[in-house]
Amino acid sequence: MTGLFLTGAYTIGGLLFVNRNKRINSLLLIAYEILLWGFTIFACFNYKHTELDYFAFDSLGILLLITLSIISIPALIHSHLYISRQGEKPQSRSIYFAAMVVLLTSISAAYLANHIAVVWIFAELTTLSASALIYHHRNKLALEGTWKYVFICAISISLVFVGILFLSLSLNQAGNKDLSFANLMAHSQELNPFWLRLAFLFIFTGFTAKIGLVPMYTAGIDAKDKAPGPAAAILSSVLMNMGFVAIFRTYAILAHTSLYHWANTIIFVAAILSIFVATVYMMKVMNIKRMFAYSSIEHMGIVMLGVAAGGIGFYAAILHVILHSFVKSSLFFQYNQVYRVFQDKNIYHLGNYFKYNPTGAVVLLFGFISATAMPPSGLFVSEFLIFRSLFEGQHLVMLLVALLLLTIIIWAFGKNILKILFTPAVGFDDSHVPHIRPLESLSQLVLLFGAVWLGLNPPAAFVHLIQDAVSILPM
């Protein structure tokens, strides 16, 4: 089924690329959604099986695959609405949708891959397709963002490859050649620690470009700034999850060796620095999309704090990752409506959003509450659990620093969002504001409420899957 899914999806991508007809475009997208959902349901029923030697339907993969499938529906719908409103050339439309389909497929394949080299290949594919999405508007700024993204991701992918080479060197001593995660974890005690250390350093540094942590987060900021709204939603939710999966699985290999504490230190450093960087930039940023992008970095920093802290933190990290995808993507979907009203991204020129689009304003307000992890948002639950794991792990200084930085972020985020929602806009001529149908905000409300529900009253199957996903780590 995996092979069928991959070939089918890439064929649809290819067809989208050559097709110029609007109706066939929509039909192909519907076909893709059916294929994606069919594959997801198949994966749920074939829990714990391995296909094609390289794809395993394990808990983490299935969780993130379901998340991707859920988010892909509004992504494609909003992309369709966005493109049809822009009056674009058929060629750029076909590139956009082909790239989006390829991106979604590569990410789902990377979720399920159980061999590190396969993850690496699909990560390369995501770079290629994401850059096509970022370059959609084809102006100077978009070119700049695309170039930065491609270049930094290319360097990061090379670093990951060096890490894979070191990993194979560490495996040499075990007399083995199979680089699949299962094999590596089984032989984790026999791996050469020197090479394993280097391998983790390089793989972690390389994948920080995808997950959005210090040091390679810079690629993502400009990318999310320049990509069209729905594409930016995908980039900042599901793509970051792919980076998380890769790092998580590599970390799981190290968790059973003597390098466990060293790996935790490295992750702590990166996570705290990421939250710090996000705080600094959130205070001065004036562009609403960049603000959302920095918020993503902050959330990923919190997630990695949970991973490094251990204990309940593992569970909380995965919960946070899933909920964050829902919240952040809904914010980015709402951004398109903001732009339609104000025609500007600069927060200085935005304001009084409640007057022009009440439903959208409610979404924005609720999204802000969710993103800053205030109750009743589900993110409150996961962040609270992460703080609890930091406290239980005696990392008190880290906890205090994180809390302080998060407070500043809440202030900065709140200052901007409340200005957009309530303060009258500066120099805004509101005679030509288009009427925005409340129906378009429905998807975002669904996502946000879904995040609340999953956080406060998660279904048993959901909890069971997460607990199974973290069972590979030492408790």
Partner: protein, 210 residues
């Protein structure tokens, strides 16, 4: 013989740190391609012939011929000026590159594993960090691309160190090479040359947190 070629590779890295003109960079990259061809030929004896021929072709055709030709055509087409504009004087670059090589040698000294040939490790890490340094210390965008190609060469040398046991990894490395080079060089540098009139990194600072 492999050792001589690899020492020659490091000398080319040192030369790159004091080179002034873009043409010299391209020539050094071509030379590195030929050196890698020799090293591949001598190092990978245990993998099957077809694989070996493919990898050899990739080093010679791609690294030594195609990429330098493409780069020189890019320079001519975009009227990029001859000089590689560094932020730091060349003397400092030379010192930094030498320090990188020394640090790598010291790091390699602490490896207790006898399976791996340490000279490969030294050359690979030196090229990696020297490439990163070249990217960070030069103004022009095309020197960034050349720095990335040097990183690729280093990664290739490292994959040769494990190549005998796992030829798949060498193939993956080759694939990375071709993919990244085609993507970066082929598509975007052309576009950048068309859109930005002066291919400096200063032009790429418009995306700010305004």
């Amino acid at each position: 013989m492999t050792n001589i070629l690899l020492i020659l590779f490091i000398i080319s890295l040192l030369y790159l740190s004091i080179a002034n003109r873009l043409v010299t960079y391209i020539r050094v990259l071509a030379l590195q391609g030929f050196i890698l061809f020799g090293v591949t030929f001598l190092a990978l004896e245990e993998i099957n012939t077809l694989n070996l021929v493919l990898i050899l072709l990739e080093t010679v055709v791609f690294k030594a011929v195609a990429v330098p030709v493409f780069l020189s055509r890019l320079i001519k087409r975009n009227h990029i000026t001859r000089e590689a504009e560094p932020y730091l004087p060349n003397f400092v670059s030379l010192i930094i590159t030498t320090v990188i090589v020394v640090v790598t040698v010291l790091l390699a000294n602490s490896i207790k594993d006898t399976h791996v040939d340490k000279i490969f490790f030294i050359v690979a890490l030196s090229s990696l960090f020297a490439g990163l340094y070249i990217i960070a210390s030069r103004k022009k965008i095309i020197t960034h691309v050349m720095g990335y190609l040097i990183i690729e060469n280093g990664v290739f040398v490292l994959s040769l160190a494990v190549g005998n046991e796992m030829p798949m990894l060498v193939n993956l490395g080759v694939m990375l090479d071709i993919f990244a080079s085609v993507l970066i060089l082929g598509i975007f540098l052309n576009k950048i040359g068309d859109v930005f009139k002066d291919v400096n990194v200063d032009q790429l600072s418009n995306l700010k947190d305004y």
